[in-house]
Symmetry: C2
Subunit: 334 residues, 2 copies
Amino acid sequence: MPRTRLRDLTEGELLEQLFPRFGGITGPAAVPLGPGDDAAVLAAPSGSVVLTTDSMVRGRDWRDDWSSAREVGLKVVAQNIADIAAMGAVPTGLLVALAADPETEVAWALELAEGIAQAAGEAGAPVLGGDLSSAASGTVVVAITATGDLEGRPPVCRDGARPGDVVAVRGGLGRSGGGLQLLLAGRGRTHLDGEPGGSEQAAHDLCLVHRTAGSPPWREGPAAARAGATSMIDVSDGLVRDLGRVARASGVRVELDGQALRVQADGPLTRALGADEALVQVLSGGEEHSLVATFAPADVPAGWQVLGSCAAGEPAVLVDGTAPEVIGWDHFRG
Amino acid sequence: MPRTRLRDLTEGELLEQLFPRFGGITGPAAVPLGPGDDAAVLAAPSGSVVLTTDSMVRGRDWRDDWSSAREVGLKVVAQNIADIAAMGAVPTGLLVALAADPETEVAWALELAEGIAQAAGEAGAPVLGGDLSSAASGTVVVAITATGDLEGRPPVCRDGARPGDVVAVRGGLGRSGGGLQLLLAGRGRTHLDGEPGGSEQAAHDLCLVHRTAGSPPWREGPAAARAGATSMIDVSDGLVRDLGRVARASGVRVELDGQALRVQADGPLTRALGADEALVQVLSGGEEHSLVATFAPADVPAGWQVLGSCAAGEPAVLVDGTAPEVIGWDHFRG
């Protein structure tokens, strides 16, 4: 009888298939003891470790009819790595907790592992440990913890923005949110079938970013820290919502420039969504995992796009002087 | 309208209620940056960090009619801290990922947090970060990552047992497994209603260990490392199954002494279960989270009970020279 579901394997048999998929990943921190014992040991070269955790839940954070297991693995790692990068840290490791319906296909779980391993390999973050749990019918939850190293620098927090700093982004805006809107409207493109550069290719590309989180520019996080970033955050819940966190933590008013935002909305986003919805997604689209940071005007590194600046005043995020009517994502209220 | 379910609150409102419950916990490692930013920063005093992750799933790892939210919180932390201790490390921090049905009672989530905080406080492991996700109807998954510090020692792994070492346990055996059997048989006692020292009190105590994991003797893990433990593991899946892991990793035959095991089965376990089932639970009961370690005969610390010894030979676990007919727990096959 073919053994195609998790319930057909012992935990040990499944681990025997999973472990090799996580092999061979190396990063900036030594791993004196990898997975397989009660716990792993990770070197902390600069005397501290950066830690974050982020999860994905089937049916909430992905739909099986939209996303492959590999894409789920890529995305859940990207989300965590982006949080490490947003502190100015380099990724050093991952832990993976999977709670899954025993009816889950073994092939799905192995492909998830391959997606996790691919993203972990690109980030230099070896898989240090994991946990397998059975869950109720239909349930799959993937919880990742990521570690990072600050290379001796202080962390870049949300509370360091100062009046006079400029606000800049590294990576796209609104692409993942735009892809989600297209998928929800039944206009998602999982295969590239249109002319290059046309609206169908644009739609395909946005949906791909939604399914995989693209490739968050994580190397630019530590680079921004070295350049003197005063605050940084990754765009998880939407630009306005996430910059609102920076504004409140730093006690500054963030003034965004409408023209700079329209430049972000131009191109594929507008081709796929139209100009108005493209701008809404630039302001409110979540799960983008680009980096947004503040710098003294002379410190903005090459490759970052300036979106506005910080001023003294009540904490708020304004676009051309007005509070935008968009909000972002809330987990329990949707 | 009373706001009693998670769906009635924004994520921010829930976090505002959760954060204070995690406040004020300090441990051996400094926390230069606690929760609230993209990631936390934890000091790694000895230049490395020990990491493990372990989850609990509603309906699989606990039943709401048996366990309170506080007990779930105590147990999920105990499981993780025991893994840190089994490496010979002291706990230094926790991260908590909660995926929950939006219909979950806010009071339940807050009580879970209080249980987590209580166990974290006892272990000196501040809560460094977390993640909230919504999940399908009925689903609650709590995934914890724990960190530890080796105080400059090498980790105590499963592969260090040598022929001639003795095998010893610190903490109970079979209590959690016995409690589970009682609960499954409808003989669980959640309230203490019998005479002190009688079978009803014994049943109550076993069920309490099952629901909370008791108080794993985590301080004895680093103490055993200091005393020269050659291998160590915590009893997660049953004594024979977990010692089998030590036997295979170390390449030794573990020879347990039936009389020493019967001593473990005596007392409350036998009063609640009868002598035969008590011995089965000593050998196979999981989720005990006691520590089992091997030592040179002269190195066994006070308070550890010797159960047998290691010999050269094919990896196996024998009781009075015979392979016992018990196995332990497997997550997907139950």
